[in-house]
Symmetry: C2
Subunit: 396 residues, 2 copies
């Protein structure tokens, strides 16, 4: 079968390289001959051994019956969405590394894939080279997953690690990450948590079978974390990590949240440093399981796209467990349905306001469990006579 | 399809419970109705809702065309081997949690499975509830895996964690593990490294496609590790872990070894504590990937058996990438083909013998890289005038 790679950027060129250079390994894993058939991009391919595969005509790909799988590595919603939709409707598998597309259009594309008995797979959309999506829909499918907590963004984890290790401030750590190419010139999508938000939306939708939209997930970035927060947390035995979390409540609704969080230093998530990602899964039958690895980068991500190409080519028909649907009602839990302890720092002694809190350091406390409204009320009260400097939930 | 569970011990009863209580989830994941068909054991089932499924007659299972998969949870070589062989030859899938069987008879059973276009799967044989085997043969199949390093035995990891945290001696920590039920009354298979040896033999055979026998893997346990080793290593920034390692050398041969090893405290393996297991995979395309979770226990292990049942039932025909064969020559690397640094402790100053070594503490050193013969020669030299108290390789 022929594979059509859409987009010849960082990930797409990695996919082409593996298909070209490791053709026999890929074919052997797929159980049939698989080859690079087309590479679609706006601009022509230069200095690559597979330049003859270039096309800018998607309809040529669509009408070639030998194309079994389309690998979309363009990014963004359009034209990625239209291409994938047409491919699926024409009985071709589609695989993608595009988290925005999967988070926004997943339910629709999965439903089209099912209707045409082909597959829409997206291992590379979360966790780069970490095999994560497939264990969730295969090995752990009947494990009774109750909770997911992940460090899903390498850029922010690099910044927080730097702050933790060297006492660096946020701006300095960010600028260092930019110099090293770990952060983009406009780092908003990473540091404000949007990237993590899309990824946890995908994981939650997949695990519990109902769309959770990025817009339904309260999302806070790391841009307000100070060197003092990191230092005080460390003195109390915690690291600060940007966590993307989702948890099924007893009524079936999903509590999800992206925010900095205090993680106990003996938790396996605390030792996930630098640009590494990790996802902790809690399940009824397996207990805690953690997946760890590089969450980004050309070859790790391309490798996950290849894994999906293999899975799509070797599977006969639609994989039933890769599916979620848009519910009539939102899957998101109501406000105030979950209470958490908070690490707070203030600029004056608030012990009198915090009868049930633990004072962990001078002007730093860990509260009793509070829901959204309660922490807001507390914040207002504290700000009447001084200032609440930080409020960061404690991951437990 | 009907599932036949062989053996109603700890794991087998867990498999039966999941098949019985979560039947609709399992069927949905398998894409077809799947039910508990038979439970074979020597003694009758008592106080279980599925007691009517009891049989002691394996031929009844073999001759029932509705049995699609046999789940072997008896343990040991016989009758497990004969049952699985007959099942495969009769066109039924077989899945197992039996590491001894897979390590000793894997190549033969995989070849029979392939010849009959069915599957022989063994997710539960390594790493309990951690989804590990499947990512290795599916997602990471074309990733170019170069090295595996795992903490594959929960009992020894519990003992070493106890020694590290509380300065306890080996015997006391072992007796504590026995009291808690983490170690058996005869703990040999765990503490002498045999369990880890079988597991790394399975992983190595699967990843590089050629049988590596447990008997070909140099195996050393934790029974000689002292509180002083643990303390001195800790002072130098290391933990001591029982590592099971395998690495493909440039000539294609496999260097494998089970032994205590020093692991840097910032390695993700260092924070794997108590009864948890973890496997670090190094691959060309994905870099380092780590899988972490409970390596044993009734429900985690049963959950992995269920995952294999689902995989076997939903897959049409033999999965080509789950395979290894006995080579004409041994897959094991020659003695002395790999050099490693060693942490050594002595009862007198040996600085004069160790010109290239680093003195890390009083009477403790980390040597330059040495192969097996070289470390033996060094040991002899040191023992001429005093005693080499410990030699533990450094994992890098």
């Amino acid at each position: 079968m022929k594979i059509a790679v859409l987009g010849h950027g960082t990930v797409g060129s990695g996919v082409c390289e593996i298909l070209w250079n490791k053709n026999s390994e890929v074919s052997s894993a797929a159980g049939k001959p698989v080859e690079l058939g087309y590479v679609l991009d706006i601009k022509e391919l230069e200095n690559v051994p597979y330049s003859e595969k270039y096309t800018k005509d998607f309809s040529a790909i669509l009408s070639d019956p030998e194309v079994g799988t389309v690998a979309e590595c363009i990014g963004g919603l359009e034209p990625a969405y239209s291409y994938i939709k047409s491919a699926l409707e024409n009985g071709k598998n589609a695989v993608t590394s595009n988290k925005e597309l999967v988070a926004e259009k997943g339910a629709e594309l999965l439903s089209i894939a099912r209707a045409h008995n082909v597959n829409f797979l997206f291992e590379a959309s979360v966790g780069g080279g970490i095999p994560l999506i497939r264990p969730l829909y295969s090995a752990m499918n009947a494990a009774g997953i109750t909770e997911i907590a992940g460090i899903l963004n390498g850029t922010t984890n690099y910044i927080l690690t730097k702050m933790f290790r060297f006492g660096t401030g946020y701006s300095e750590a960010l600028s260092d990450a930019q110099k090293l190419g770990y952060a983009e010139r406009d780092p908003s999508a990473d540091v404000l948590g949007w990237d993590s938000c899309r990824k946890i939306a995908i994981l939650s939708s997949l695990v519990w079978g109902k769309t959770l939209k990025p817009s339904e997930i309260p999302t806070e970035g790391i841009d307000k974390i100070s060197a003092d927060d990191v230092k005080t947390a460390e003195q109390c035995g915690f690291s600060i990590k940007l966590l993307a979390r989702a948890k099924q409540l007893s009524d079936g609704k999903i509590f999800a949240k992206v925010s900095p969080a205090l993680v106990k230093n003996d938790s396996p998530l605390a030792t996930v440093n630098d640009v590494f990602n990790a996802v902790l899964i809690k399940a009824e039958t397996t207990g805690e399981v953690l997946f760890y690895g590089k969450g980004a980068g050309k070859m790790p991500t391309a490798s996950s796209v290849i894994a999906d190409i293999i899975e799509a080519e070797k599977t006969d028909g639609n994989i039933k467990s890769v599916f979620w649907e848009d519910g009539a009602q939102s899957a998101a839990a109501e406000k105030d349905s979950v209470s958490e302890r908070y690490f707070i720092r203030t600029d004056y002694d608030v012990s009198a306001l915090l009868l049930k809190a633990e004072k962990v350091s001078d002007l730093a406390y860990i509260t009793n469990p509070l829901n959204d409204s309660e922490i807001s009320v507390l914040e207002e009260k504290i700000n009447e006579h001084g200032k609440l400097l930080s409020k960061i939930p404690v991951f437990e």
